[in-house]
Amino acid sequence: MTIRALIAEDEPILAATLAMTLQGLWPGLEIVGSAPNGVAAVEQGLLLRPDILFLDIRMPGQTGLEAAEELAERWDGPQPFPHIVFVTAFDDYAVQAFEHAAADYVLKPVSAARLGKTVERLRALVEARQQPATLQLADPGALGSLVSQLQALLPAAPVAPMAQRLATIRAAVGNTVRMIPVGDVVFFQAVDKYVNVATPDAEALIRVPLKDLLPQLDPLQFRQVSRSMVVNMACVSSAGRDDFGKVTLTLRGRPDRPKVSPVYAHLFRQM
């Protein structure tokens, strides 16, 4: 069985070089595609379902970290989540962060010796995956290790001091501005450039990006559960887990069933 790899890299020469070096080191590896930006990386990842994904960090569209997060959120079905190797050019901070998060990464310019070690590790991981008997129950798998890496690597949203927190949401509805007490909000959901503010009996759009809104909310009451959703924890009545480990929330006062990103699933684990 061949092992399939996808390369996400915006600089064409670097993508070609990485593919060539990989094939020299690992003849059994098939490069199934190459994505030129962070958005295409997710789409092609979902389409091609590779075993290994090389993700450049600085890409147009979205960063490699954001692409990994989105892919983890949208990954479904029985196929195991791909092993992710981050690729980054010289960047002191990023390198320290990757080491801290125990993430697999290679530095550009890629040294064949360094890439050889990565290939060895990947081979061991893929072989272990092909022999389910040796797999232990506690093994978090590729998704589990990515989740813990992303929790360390993704920048945490800053928290504004109490005085700068929002007490009411002012949302325009036609010619009037509705004043919504923050405590009444069940969830905020990003929709393109807007945010949908949902209360038990109404919805309203505001023109503030979710990432600007988040720091102005009480970090204990409002939690991010996926890249596009922030929920009021007081309104969550239950969290269900499906066969693939996907967590879905049931809300008080709203029929919506928001999905929880694997990155935030730990918020809904039993005590």
Binding site: L14, A16, R58, F90, D91, K108
Partner: protein, 365 residues
């Protein structure tokens, strides 16, 4: 650096000027003592005579004591020996100053001048003692004032020195920043070069040429303050050539330099931060990429350079690279070099992207 410093710090004042500076104080102390004597003696009708005599004695004592001090003891922090000399000076001067002042006063007022043998009376001896105390006090006052003045001057000199050092540090930092090549850019370029060596050696050679040219321009800029527009455009051509290899079809670029402006002089590496901003914040993060156009023109005696891109535009800065640093540094440089005679404006370009417009005095040889 010491030559620069000395040009900022005023030279010490001459002794004669320092002696004259406190003369009004001597006159004032003399006048005050005349009032005291008149009140003590209780004869207001002789106040005018007392005043003349007292002031002249005061001035004589002042000139003798301070003259001596400035000549022989003009250094700070006297030891015990210095103080002993100073006291001896005061004691010597008092019996000299009193008859001297009295003699001159007598000449002015038309009184008979006292001869040396008729001079010593008990009353006069007590007056000499009075003069001694008065001049001693006056001298201490003068010295105190001088001490204060010296401290003030030292403070001012220190402040000036700090300012000079700060300015030099700033200039050095600016030169360093000009010479700085973003590591991310350099390593990505090297990674491309590494790849091309295996894939397309001829193109690798061309790219290496571009890198050498860009590095030379950047590193030279840290040593020279000025360059010509032709050199600056060549450096940007090399930079965009490197970025063109890296970004492939996503980057198109055009540079237009009118032949008449080739030799126009401008501060070195002035364009670099603007072109780098257009790439790093405008075109590189945009999925489809775009075009960058660099233009130069002369408008009413001013040199106008525009850097126009079709990138993400203003307000899309992700803060990743501290957007705005390049712009604010450029504005600081322009302000330091030309004051209000130069400017940099950023406006949204149509239909998308950013237009950076640099205006500075045209300097053609």
């Amino acid at each position: 650096m010491s030559s620069v410093l000395s040009s900022f710090i005023p030279a010490p004042r001459s002794r004669a000027r320092r002696l004259l500076a406190d003369l009004p104080l001597a006159v004032a102390v003399g006048a005050l003592l005349a009032v005291v004597i008149t009140v003590v003696v209780g004869r207001p009708e002789v106040f005018f005579e007392n005043l003349i005599v007292s002031v002249l004695i005061g001035v004589a004592a002042y000139v003798l004591i301070n003259g001596g001090r400035l000549l022989f003891l003009d250094y700070p922090d006297w030891g015990p020996r210095g103080w002993a000399c100073f006291l001896a000076l005061v004691f010597m001067v008092a019996p000299l100053a009193h008859p001297l002042g009295l003699h001159v006063a007598s000449l002015i007022l038309g009184f008979p001048t006292p001869t040396l043998d008729s001079y010593f009376t008990v009353r006069r001896a007590s007056m000499v003692l009075f003069t001694l105390i008065g001049t001693g006090l006056m001298t201490l006052l003068v010295m105190n004032r001088e001490h204060l003045r010296r401290t003030r001057e030292e403070h001012a000199a220190q402040r000036l020195r700090a300012e000079v050092v700060e300015r030099q540090a700033l200039q050095a930092q600016l030169r360093l920043m000009q010479a700085q090549i973003e590591p991310h850019m350099l390593f990505n370029t090297l990674a491309n070069l590494q790849g091309l060596i295996a894939i397309d050696p001829a193109r690798a050679g061309t790219m290496l040429d571009g890198l050498i040219q860009y590095l030379r321009a950047t590193l030279n800029a840290s040593r020279s303050e000025n360059t010509t527009l032709e050199h600056e455009f060549a450096a940007m051509q090399a930079y965009l050539g490197l970025m063109g290899v890296r970004m492939g079809e996503r980057l198109a670029y055009r540079l237009a330099l009118p032949p008449g402006l080739r030799s126009a002089r401008l501060p070195s590496m002035l364009l670099q931060p603007l072109v780098e901003n257009a790439i790093v914040h405008g075109l590189e993060p945009k999925i489809d990429g775009g075009e960058i156009v660099i233009d130069a023109a002369s408008e009413q005696g001013a040199l106008v350079i525009t850097v126009c891109d079709t990138g993400l535009g203003l307000g899309h800065t992700d803060g990743q690279c501290g957007g705005g640093v390049g712009v604010s540094t450029t504005r600081e440089r322009l302000a330091a070099l030309y004051g209000a005679g130069a400017s940099l404006t950023l406006t949204p370009a149509q239909p998308c992207g950013t237009l950076a417009r640099l205006t500075l005095p045209l300097d053609t040889p």
